[in-house]
Amino acid sequence: MPPPAASSRYPSPSQPSGKSEVTDLKSQLRQLAGSRAPGVDDSKRDLFKKVISYMTIGIDVSSVFGEMVMCSATSDIVLKKMCYLYVGNYAKGNPDLSLLTINFLQRDCKDEDPMIRGLALRSLCSLRVPNLVEYLLGPLGSGLKDNNSYVRTIAVTGVLKLYHISASTCIDAEFPATLKSLMLHDSDAQVVANCLAALQEIWSLEASHSEEACREKESLLSKPLIYYFLNRYSYLKGRSKFQYGGVCFCRIKEFNEWAQCLILELAVKYVPSDSNDIFDIMNLLEDRLQHANGAVVLATVKVFLQLTLSMTDVHQQVYERIKSPLLTLVSSGSPEQSYAILSHLHLLVVRAPFIFASDYKHFYCQYNEPSYVKKLKLEMLTAIANESNTYEIVTELCEYAANVDIEIARESIRAVGKIALQQYDVNAIVDRLLQFLEMEKDYVTAETLVLVKDLLRKHPQWSHDCISVVGGISSKNIQEPKAKAALIWMLGEYAQDMSDAPYILENLIENWEEEHSAEVRLHLLTAAMKCFFKRAPETQKALGIALAAGIADFHQDVHDRALFYYRVLQYDVHVAERVVSPPQQAVSAFADTQSSEIKDRIFDEFNSLSVIYQKPSYIFTDKEHRGPFEFSDELGSTSITPEVSSDIVPAQQFEANDKDLLLSTDEKDDNKGLSSNNGSAYTAPYESSNISSQMQELAISGPAASATTTQSSFDFDDLLGLGLSTAPAPTPSPPLLKLNARAALDPRAFQQKWRQLPISLSQEYSVNPQGIAALTVPQSLIKHMQSHSIHCIASGGQSPNFKFFFFAQKEAEPLDYLTECIINSSSAKAQIKVKADEQSTSQAFATVFETALSKFGMP
């Protein structure tokens, strides 16, 4: 209910402050309480309405609790409902008074009208007063057995409410078992659906400390149960079953649309036994894609996508199939609903742009759409641009550049730039970009300059065309730091092609004091240097001023860079030139902001908020709220083949994840960021990737500098990695860890864990030459490690890079250690990443691992 305290602190002038009104109400209620005069119910209704209305606007009316309860002796169901609403709202704060209500609620639970029985039971369970739970057991027990389905639906949810008030009471009364049997046998669909919802919640919360609950929640995913739900869902009412192409289609669905969503979410977690199984389910659900409710369609889409993950061509056909229904949903609902669907389409478009390439017109912006929709569409247009449609898309985007909505205009220009960067044939786009500069709108010019700069970094061959246009722009018209920095960078880089470059720079340097952005000042320093190497006589004076101003600058980075330039110039001008202005090298690819691992996680969390926020759920939810389905997590990608039996672990050929071998530093940072803290700041990966992206920003100023930044970002990695392992500073050799020799872990579980856990340790070891020699047969390493109780779950790669995934289990405790080990046979190095259930012992495990590895190849 509304926060009474908070609202009464800011009484709105239009609303009564409440005190005298409440006293008034109290006395009036008291008068009516005992009355049996005709028409008394009507007066009560009016008074009750007043009470509820005060409650809604935030006035504390808890003081009339006693009177409300006294008045509740009535057969008028409307009055009763209002009273229940009131009681439910204030009971928690008035446990003593709540006791008063128990009596009449319990009595109502036995009323002959099922409506009253249901309502009373719902209110009874909503009191949220822990010391009253004993009064719930009786009514709940009989509610679950009630012959009226309305009462049973309420009782089932009541059990869940009881669980949240007192888990032990709920478990001790064996309510979960009752729910399970109701779920399997009740004739009412909503009762079944509520049982499923309640059991999912209860068992996943119990699972952390009860093995039985663990088993129970796994059993929800068993084939018979899934088929029970899906078939029931089509069978009981689906009298009009008919054959179609040898496959059975069933029509009317018994569950309502919301319960269907619940069941579809469950079906997503189901591990099909074979491809027939997969096709059966898909054929059964096929017509759900035609549902008018977007939530049902998306839930079905998720089932289809997850089921076909390992069947590439069918998976692709699923994309083709779902395209049209999703587009229809986008255009049929409210803007809000469109947004939710579009966000999911966005995800699919980014994953499989080629499938949507011919549908680009659907993602054109409409002038009356809210900006949050337009932004998404622009991103989608960027993603699907390819050789066949770029011309049309860019033409359309150029129209938006003149948009009244400046934010969208900017985004459109950025989109054009991004398309230019991802295309090989940029000829036409460059022309368009340059036309933007002629529009003479400040923000258009600013955005365009930044893009031209990026374009030149990738395609230096366009410099001639661009520079002539850029040279014509007056630097006075450019205020935005990013644009200014871009212009300055071009002035420095192409000083020989722009006749007045030194003079423009000089002008800018003279206004050093007025330049508020440190980024711009940094660029000024570098540009002055570059210009100096090309046109020394014209620039010398300006460079001198810039260096002096830079050294005196209060900003640390500016100061340091100026001082560095000064000293390196002093040391040797030619060295300085080699460092600051080496021959230009084209940047082949710009760093992707999101690692593929993160993208995969978001894909696995399809049809959830992760897709909207474009972040995996661990960023924005805490563990307990990740949703009731988290327990079995996603079936995941195909990197590990599921057929591995857990006793003998044959090495599996590694396919899909080979690209992992090429993890960029950026992605590593992401992972490191995660491991560096245990939850306090979930944003860490972003911080660290920010840092590295800033470093790349800096790297713009000269490829030479980039070498040093990458170096330093490696150092940075190490710092983070060590930060954890050496937390209790000089630990004498960590305690010896005993591993379970017979540990077993299902590859799927491995994969799921690997995604969930942060990296707790990442180290590099040397491998002795004998080991490298023995690695010609990678199998031998697997056997070797197994003899040290470290089991291989998958392996792959080719010389010189081999990749292994190992797991081990602590003896006597079900704590797993997961390890990714990449061995490079030419450098004789092994890089390992450890993820552990118990972070504190991961160093100890690493030691065991290292010892084991060091003995590899030894006789």
């Binding site: 609403l85 009009s240 192409g245 969503c261 979410e265 054929n283 409210s334 609903q337 409409q366």
Partner: protein, 463 residues
């Protein structure tokens, strides 16, 4: 899957109803929400997206939809399906409207106890129980206090029928599903509305760049005894891709209907869950037992070429150093027995426009012109005048600039956008051939209203 709270806020941020289902979101969520929405961006231009979370404040996810200027909000801490929650919010609004007849702040405040009653049955402990007006009817006991429909703004597309068209009884679409007529008896009637929203973008040379029709067959039934209904659509109706695919190991063949030849070709469509399609493939009929309340029977989408109802011609020319002239011509391209109304034309003018003077054609009545200084917008409204099919109207505007300009003036102005409503006309040619009500006696003959309307969604002409 579950939500924590549901509340409705007025435009000013006052609580109208507030229901906490799970008591797991900290106090003050309504204020947090309202602050976030109000101050989404400092410049106030960007709208808050319908879903956001505030990690720093309370770690709560907020969902909202705006209906008749009210915020319908749900909160949760769980990673739920976003579509589900937004769909639910929209559906709650519809259920409440079904009950109250009209939905606005006033009707809400007068009926909040009824609304609470509904909310208790729609959601229990955060889990959706039902959103069917039909089902809810047996659980809800308060009688709605109906507000006189004269005082309200139309909120749904169907409400436009109450505006100028004489054929429709004025209160039909604003009738509560539960309230009785003052006369004491319910009128047996059913409304089937074919509502098409069209989006067209014309290039500067008048060529159609994109066009789309988003249609809905909306139904509202006041028939007693829930008789079965059959709706027959055009027999030449084709659906670009057959409704279903067959999945198999060897063949996964999405199955296509032949889409050759003439006829109405839909790209795709979807159906309300009550609709049975047993004979849809053979004779294009839908059968259903309509639940109470308003609901879409079918949504469809069409990109097949169609004749845009209006042709827009715009010219902007410099006329001297600080002057320019704009000419906008609109031509109605539909039969002369059809009348369009509520027409507005808008065009952003160059930023340095300081003044605009207008010249309407001689004898023009009911037309209004305006130049909005703040956003440099030209507005031409023909709200009071209706346009008969085949008619043509022209507006001339003389602009005065505050500074000289050297670039290309067409890049500084436009595009021209248009809104309109054309009752009893639909561009897709999709038709309800007949509406059959299966019912007991031969004397039973309820009112059947089948109405068509075409509205502009995004109707834009570039210059």
């Amino acid at each position: 899957m579950m939500i924590s709270q549901f509340f409705v806020l007025s435009q000013r941020g006052d609580n109208i109803v507030f229901r906490d289902y799970r008591a797991e979101v900290p106090k003050g969520s309504t204020e947090t929400f309202f602050r976030k929405v109000k101050f989404w961006k400092e410049d106030g231009n960007a709208e808050a997206p319908p879903i956001f979370f505030s990690l720093n404040v309370d770690g709560v996810n907020y969902f909202h939809v705006k209906v008749v200027g009210l915020y319908f909000v749900a909160t949760t801490r769980v990673n739920v399906s976003p579509s589900l929650v937004l769909e639910l919010l929209q559906r709650i609004a519809r259920v409440i409207k079904d009950y109250l007849g009209v939905l606005n702040e006033d009707s809400f405040r007068k009926n909040f106890v009824l609304v609470y009653e509904l909310l208790d049955e729609v959601i229990d402990f955060g889990y959706v129980q039902t959103t069917s007006t039909e089902v809810l009817k047996s659980y809800v006991f308060n009688e709605p206090i109906v507000i006189a429909p004269a005082r309200l703004q139309p909120i749904d597309p169907a409400a436009i029928f109450t505006q100028g068209a004489k054929r429709m009884p004025g209160t039909a679409v604003t009738k509560s599903v539960v309230a009785n007529d003052p006369s004491g008896r319910r009128r047996e009637e059913i409304f089937v509305d074919i509502i098409e929203k069209i989006s067209v973008t014309f290039s500067s040379s008048g060529y159609i760049l994109t066009s789309e029709i988003d249609g809905t067959i909306q139904m509202k039934s006041y028939l007693s005894g829930n008789p079965e209904i059959r709706i027959a659509l055009n027999e030449d109706l084709n659906i670009g891709r057959g409704g279903r695919s067959v999945y198999g190991i060897a063949s996964f063949t999405p199955y296509y209907r032949s889409s050759s030849g003439s006829g109405v070709i839909l790209d795709d469509c979807n159906f309300h869950e009550s609709v049975r399609l047993d004979s849809f493939d053979s004779d294009r009929t839908l059968s259903l037992v309509p639940p109470d309340g308003e609901f879409p029977v079918m949504n469809y989408r069409m990109t097949q070429e169609f004749k845009p109802p209006f042709h827009v011609n715009t010219l902007i020319e410099e006329a001297g150093r600080l002057k320019a002239e704009v000419i906008i011509k609109i031509r109605a391209e539909f039969p002369s027995d059809i009348i369009a109304n509520t027409i507005t034309v808008q065009m952003p003018l160059p930023n340095f426009t300081s003044r605009a003077s207008f010249e309407l054609e001689p004898g023009a009545a009911g037309q209004k012109t305006d130049f909005k200084e703040s956003n440099k917008m030209l507005e031409w409204s023909l709200k009071k005048a209706s346009i008969v099919g085949g008619a043509e109207h022209t507006l001339r505007a003389k602009l005065t600039f505050s500074q000289e300009f050297h670039g290309n003036i067409t890049k500084e102005a436009g595009p021209v956008s248009m809104t309109f409503t054309i009752p009893m006309y639909n561009v897709s040619k999709l038709q309800v051939k007949y509406l059959q009500i299966a019912k007991k006696s031969s004397s039973y003959n309820p009112y059947r209203w089948v109405r068509y309307v075409t509205q502009a969604n995004s109707y834009v002409a570039r210059i």
